[in-house]
């Protein structure tokens, strides 16, 4: 039940967001700020990977931003 509910909420959310998004955004010449390095979703890929690995090893959750990570015995 829980799984079906979260899948439905996720899909409805993404579709709503995608359809509602068509009126949002900027013109190509208005991307000066968005093009800045510090405005990228992942500014520091190594730090992101390190954090994912630490929290994967110490907590019962992983992923979200990308794949679940892992690949370690992680005692």
């Amino acid at each position: 039940m829980n799984r079906t509910r979260i899948v439905s909420v996720g899909i409805v959310g993404l579709v709503t967001l995608a359809s509602g998004c068509s009126s949002m955004g900027v013109e190509p010449w208005e991307r000066d700020i968005l093009a800045k390095e510090e405005m990228q979703l992942t500014t520091d890929p190594i730090e992101a990977a390190i954090d994912d690995h630490i929290y994967f090893s110490k907590e019962a959750s992983s992923g979200g931003r990308g794949f679940g990570g892992g690949g370690c015995g992680c005692n």
Partner: protein, 437 residues
């Protein structure tokens, strides 16, 4: 300007002559861009208090950028791990002796102390290879490989993703899939589920290696809201099947009335456990789902990076994670970035702290504190700066603290008031260096 440089004058004349004569110059008019390399490197120290886990980690991520936005990414990580980790047993007022995972010796924990296994020592090497390229004007794809090797663990994985831009590239819809096959080859063998810990030299409770398979899928939308605001929403699904138990963790077998661990006397001349311990057992399947939202907001030079993740799984673990970073420029070449993260999770339905002697064994049980009920915070600061030649460096220092509680209904007899969640305090220090050539 030009007449100060005879060479440029002659070049200009040659070019003019060529164009007058209608001939084609030897070199192409538009020279192909040279591929460039980007190197992201980091040295990390992660250290837990009370001589628990210490990790020194070297990370290199090299990215070769070709024309047309194609790129090759190569990653290498080497971790050196040492220290002690909770073995799953509860405290006792008397010393407790445990057989080491290798089965070749034993260690003793003083009375009143949280039992930690101090044999934790490992070196881990991990590599990643990725290729990314556009497909036509609006599509982009990537494929990748990941592999890692530890003394007792091997990971092999493949991943791929596809994304498409819509709405003047203000909306990007992406989907990714990753599969992995991991192999456990624990020191001393894999313990049989709920098998008792045996004396030194007796491996009758161990078998060979085990495997697990993982499938991860992520779909997401990234949306430009305005010149200053960018948001992302992802839904992730992850299924693991196979051996999901921790082969080094076990539980104390206790008296149902007093809650004290059942004592055990090794045979004469043998060295072995002082009490009854049973190796843990987890389900052989786990399905996790998560929703993740991230926003980047630009405020007059400062950038707020805020994210939230909700995760739920069929082990009945629910978690919430909030992560906040504020990048604050200090002049043109440097910045500081405070970071705060809050995490909370509920315990797995089979999490317990001990097994009751004489009672029917549950189907699954684990006393691994990472499957328990706890909150965690991370707080830290990063300082980054850029040299005149374009190299970027940063240093960050953070603290990470876990603070948990054992649900009251899991405590029996004398365990009330004595057993507490093994709280964790750790520091993270990282130096990063980024350069291109």
């Amino acid at each position: 300007m030009a007449d100060k440089n005879p060479k440029s004058v002659s070049a200009a004349l040659a070019a003019a002559t060529c164009s007058l004569l209608g001939s084609v110059p030897a070199a192409p008019v538009q020279a192909a861009e040279e591929p460039t390399w980007d190197f992201n490197t980091a040295l990390l120290y992660y250290g837990e208090d009370n001589d628990r886990v210490q990790d020194l980690s070297l990370n290199i991520l090299a990215r070769r950028n070709y024309v047309d936005d194609r790129s090759l990414t190569l990653g290498l990580t080497v971790d050196t791990l040492t220290g002690a980790t909770p073995n799953g047993a509860i405290r006792q007022n008397v010393p407790q002796t445990f057989t080491r995972p290798s089965g070749s010796s034993a260690y003793t924990v003083p009375g009143g102390e949280l039992p930690l296994d101090d044999t934790f020592k490992d070196t881990r090497a991990a590599i990643t290879v990725g290729w990314e390229q556009p497909l036509g004007r609006l599509w982009k794809t990537s494929i990748g490989f990941s592999g890692s090797r530890e003394y007792d663990y091997t990971h092999l994985g493949l991943n791929g993703s596809l994304s498409r831009d819509f709405n003047k590239r203000n909306t990007t819809v992406s989907a990714g899939l990753a599969v992995a096959h991991d192999i456990w080859d624990p020191v001393g063998g894999t313990p049989v589920a709920f098998a008792p810990m045996l004396d030194v030299g007796d491996t009758g409770n161990k078998t060979g290696s085990e495997t697990k398979d993982i499938i991860d899928a992520v779909i997401g939308v990234t949306q430009v809201i305005s010149r200053r605001l960018l948001v992302q929403l992802n839904y992730s699904f992850s299924n693991s099947s196979g051996y999901l138990t921790d082969p080094y963790k076990f539980l104390s077998l206790v008296d149902g009335a007093t809650g004290e661990t059942i004592p055990r006397v090794p045979p004469p001349g043998a060295e072995g456990p002082s009490h009854e311990f049973r190796f843990e057992n987890r389900p052989d399947e786990r399905t996790k789902q998560s929703l993740y939202g991230q926003a980047k907001y630009y405020m007059g030079g400062k950038v707020l990076d805020a994210s939230y993740r909700y995760m739920t799984d069929d082990w009945e673990i629910d978690s919430h994670t909030v992560d906040l970073r504020l990048r604050w420029p200090l002049g043109e070449y440097s910045y500081i970035e405070p970071h705060f993260r809050f995490y909370t999770q509920s315990e797995a339905d089979f999490y317990t702290i001990s097994l009751v002697d004489g009672a029917e064994l549950p189907a699954f049980a684990s006393a691994d504190y990472r499957l328990g009920n706890f909150d965690a915070i991370t707080a830290g600061l990063k300082y980054g700066w850029k040299t005149r030649s374009g190299k970027e460096m940063s240093i960050r220092a953070e603290i990470y603290q876990q603070d948990g509680t054992i649900p009251g209904d899991l405590l029996i007899g004398n365990q009330v008031g004595r057993e507490t969640y093994p709280d964790l305090d750790a520091i993270i220090v990282q130096f990063s260096y980024h350069f291109s050539r």
